[in-house]
Amino acid sequence: MKGLGIVTTQSSAEPTRRDFLYIATGAVAAVGAAAAVWPFVSQMNPDASTIAAGAPIEVDLTPIAQGQDIKVFWRGKPIYIMNRTPKQVEEAVKTPLSDLKDPETDQARTKAGHENWLVVTGICTHLGCIPIAHEGNYDGFFCPCHGSQYDSSGRIRQGPAPLNLPVPPYQFVSDSKIQIG
């Protein structure tokens, strides 16, 4: 009567029927307990209405004058849409890749034929603050939290952030309208 009764006794060298029963019971119970945890974890993920609400949105570009920008929200994230001046575009295109921490050409970050339009997710790649447009040393974005600076193509140039501001999936549906998502 001492001990747990569940451990194998030393005298039985081979597994007995009893051991098999104990192991099987324990294993089935463990599988059940593990499976029961899943719904409690899964419920933390975005629910069906949140996922559905993340559908693509359309944005009209006509009100944005050159040198201005707007912020729209898609999936709860701010998206900067900037109508860049020719000077900004030129700076972005001319910057040699060797100057960049996260090398990427301006062409790769804009759509051909619409080079003046920069569309980036306005979330600092350091720790998630929102950078301010048209500030900093590179005519792009400046993050007030820990001083990251992005250029006019949204590429990281200085400060603790490791990566460029990401470009969300988008396309031009007409010359003055884009669809994000």
């Binding site: 099987a24 719904p39 409690f40 899964s42 419920q43």
Partner: protein, 688 residues
């Protein structure tokens, strides 16, 4: 938890810890080495089952609170969003709602066991009183939890129960205002009930710790009611009691899962699928089944204050039980008279429960008074007198003797089945509440989604949607559905493109835009079904004063009593289709000429199945009205059936997932219970 531990750690880390915080020793002495009487029967596993249920309620409750909104205009919808959109939300909600009932079933078994075997007697008085306190806390928690979904029964239950306190002279009204935080049940009430409903389970858990502590000081009572004397009378808690408890828990989970996966609405009230409406009281306010006996006591006394006093007294009298029954013999096994009266008391409680669900009129009131008297007489007359006059049978010398003498497993099994059956009677009592009014029920149809393997018929749901769109949607909204639901698995399963096209046909109001104006745009699949009227007032004005109800939950919000004993069979046959049967019958139940002597108001129509028979809605469907492309007959009975199926899906979009997972869980639990049973037998073989 009693005395210094015998635990001797070998591992140096454990030694170090034990010298500073003897927690391992505490666990060891409380749950491993702790001696338990070796003759405990399965009624003793309900303590473990209750601990499990408390844990389940706390865990599911915390998770539900992550998604629930305690605000009167949002609460009802937030619960529906949990059920419809949150991953496994339907499961968590069913677990929590059915879990409350399971908790009470287990606590009633546990209390009756204590009563039968005299577990409240010296030296276990404090243990018993702590138990009564836990029970009171459970009642309060359960009541406040039932208010949170903010349906009709939630609201009116809250109103009625809080008004109990208005019975107290002088201070009554002030107390009620204080409870409400306003001049009626409203948003402040909901907020505080949510807060307290979250708090109280942790208070319960705290008192449970005291309860277990007290238990471990005095030791467990046992069926023989004699204290263990030698080591031969006891076995260590682990593995003997633990395995028995785990086996009991596993069997209880099978019972619990039956409700979670197959009968989620059996224990609830259909009226609670109608959002709270402070202007309309449901025809019958019936509390949850576990309060019914006390509700019957309340109503049987014709004086407001005395009724309330009697109701609370019925619970508080339990606190004095250790002194009301002074018989030295604990177990009713050796008290032939007390045993008979015990079963009489059980019957009294069940009958009071049945009466609590009946309308308070005629013979029911008389019976209510008789059984209220019986209830109190048991505690205040029978037990005190019996303890003085009863001739008890000789007790066994020791627990070991008792174990050798008995072998009546069959009897215990029979008793368990009888008790479960009796519980079934009370549980279903609520559904008979309205039986007196209706002479006839709508005919039961064959539904593809009925039974444990039920599935929706896709083509039927698509046809039903067509009827909704072309006919019903002119007046009825479907506010809890979004166009995307049409393409989701388990429903009509339109293709995504079809759903998009359906959505785009609707003009949805959006905005404001940059200029601050509202504008209309074609619907997207994430949009909610467009309502035919901008608000309830407009709906009412356009329909002769009666707003057409929202149809999202119609199939679950309409029901009819099945009567005794049918509702007990329903539990086993998984009958849950009252709603669709009613809708199907209603659509076909119009009669051009009302029966002789029926006075039909102007602008109303006679319908055989509508409560009161006078309905404002004109007959909505006629043969040939909607064109079917798949060759299905275009007749009224077919239309009625198709649209009723569609509405069932609208009310319960995850029905298929629920039944599918239910089957898996059931198979798993039955295998687990079987394995545990054999393991337990193997282990106990050493002890005999």
């Amino acid at each position: 938890m009693s005395g210094p531990s015998t635990y001797q750690p070998q591992n140096p880390v454990m030694k170090w810890l034990e010298a500073r915080l003897p927690i391992a020793g505490l666990v060891h002495s409380s749950f491993i080495a702790y001696p338990t009487p070796r003759n405990l029967n399965y009624w003793w596993t309900f303590g473990a089952i209750l601990s499990m249920m408390l844990a389940v309620q706390i865990v599911t409750g915390i998770v539900l609170a992550m998604h629930y909104t305690p605000e009167t205009t949002l609460a009802f919808d937030s619960v529906e969003r949990i059920v419809r959109d949150v991953n496994y939300g339907w499961l968590l909600r069913n677990m929590h709602a059915a879990g409350a009932s399971m908790f009470f079933i287990a606590v009633y078994v546990h209390m009756l066991r204590g009563l039968y075997y005299g577990s409240y007697k010296a030296p276990r008085e404090v243990l018993w009183i702590l138990g009564v306190i836990i029970y009171l806390l459970m009642m309060a928690t359960g009541f406040m939890g039932y208010v949170l979904p903010w349906g009709q029964m939630s609201f009116w239950g809250a109103t009625v129960i809080t008004n109990l306190f208005s019975a107290f002279p002088y201070v009554g009204d002030s107390i009620v205002t204080l409870l409400w935080g306003g001049y009626s049940v409203g948003n402040p009430t909901l907020n505080r009930f949510f807060s307290l409903h979250y708090l109280l389970p942790f208070v319960i858990a705290g008192v449970v710790v005291l309860h277990v502590w007290a238990l471990h000081v005095t030791g467990q009572n046992n069926p023989a009611g004699v204290e263990p004397k030698t080591e031969k009378d006891t076995v260590p808690f682990t593995p003997y009691a633990t395995l028995k408890d785990v086996f009991g828990m596993s069997c209880f989970l099978v019972f619990y899962s039956w409700f979670i996966f197959y009968m989620p609405n059996y224990l609830g009230d259909a009226d609670n699928y109608i959002p709270a409406n402070p202007g309309v009281t449901p025809a019958h306010i019936v509390p949850e089944w576990y309060y019914l006996p006390f509700y019957a006591i309340l109503r049987s006394i014709p004086n407001k204050l005395l009724g309330v006093v009697a109701m609370f007294g019925a619970i508080l009298v339990l606190l004095f039980l250790p002194w009301l029954d002074s018989c030295k013999v604990r177990s009713s096994r050796y008290r032939p008279l007390a045993k008979k009266f015990f079963w009489g008391f059980v019957a009294t409680c069940l009958l009071l429960g049945w009466l609590g669900a009946k309308p308070a009129e005629g013979i029911y009131t008389v019976l209510g008074r008789v059984f209220t008297f019986c209830y109190f007489a048991y505690f205040l007359i029978v037990l005190p007198v019996l303890s003085r006059v009863e001739k008890t049978l000789p007790l066994p010398n020791s627990i070991a003797d008792d174990v050798l003498a008995k072998g009546k497993v069959g009897k215990a099994v029979a008793a368990s089945i009888a008790v479960l059956f009796a519980f079934g009677v009370t549980l279903g009592g609520g559904s008979t509440a309205k039986a007196a009014e209706h002479e006839e029920s709508p005919p039961s149809q064959d539904w593809t989604f009925a039974g444990p393997f039920g599935k929706y018929d896709r083509a039927q749901l698509q046809r039903g949607f067509k009827i909704y769109k072309e006919v019903c949607s002119n007046c009825h909204s479907l506010k809890l559905l979004q166009y995307r639901n049409l393409a989701e698995p388990g429903g009509p399963e339109f293709t995504l493109d079809q759903a998009k096209a359906i959505a785009a046909e609707a003009q949805i109001k959006d905005g404001p835009n940059d200029a601050g104006d509202m504008f209309e745009r074609p619907g997207r699949i994430a949009d909610t079904f467009k309502s035919p009227f901008p608000n309830e007032q407009a709906a009412r004005a356009a329909n002769g004063g009666a707003a057409p109800p929202d149809m999202s939950l119609l199939a679950k919000a309409r029901s009819y009593p099945r009567g005794f004993p049918q509702f007990i069979f329903d539990l086993f046959t998984q009958f849950q289709e009252q709603g669709p049967n009613y809708i199907d019958a209603l659509l076909q139940g119009y009669q051009d000429t009302p029966p002789e002597g029926f006075n039909l108001p102007d602008g109303s129509f006679y319908n055989k199945w509508y409560p009161g028979h006078s309905i404002k809605m004109p007959p909505p469907l006629q043969d040939g009205m909607v064109t079917y492309d798949d060759g299905t007959p275009q007749t009224l009975p077919q239309y009625a059936k198709d649209v009723a199926s569609f509405l069932m899906w609208a009310a319960e979009p995850h029905l298929e997932a629920r039944k599918r997972l239910g089957l898996q869980v059931m198979i798993f639990l039955i295998i687990l219970s079987g394995l545990l049973y054999f393991t337990k037998r193997k282990v106990w073989a050493n002890a005999h």
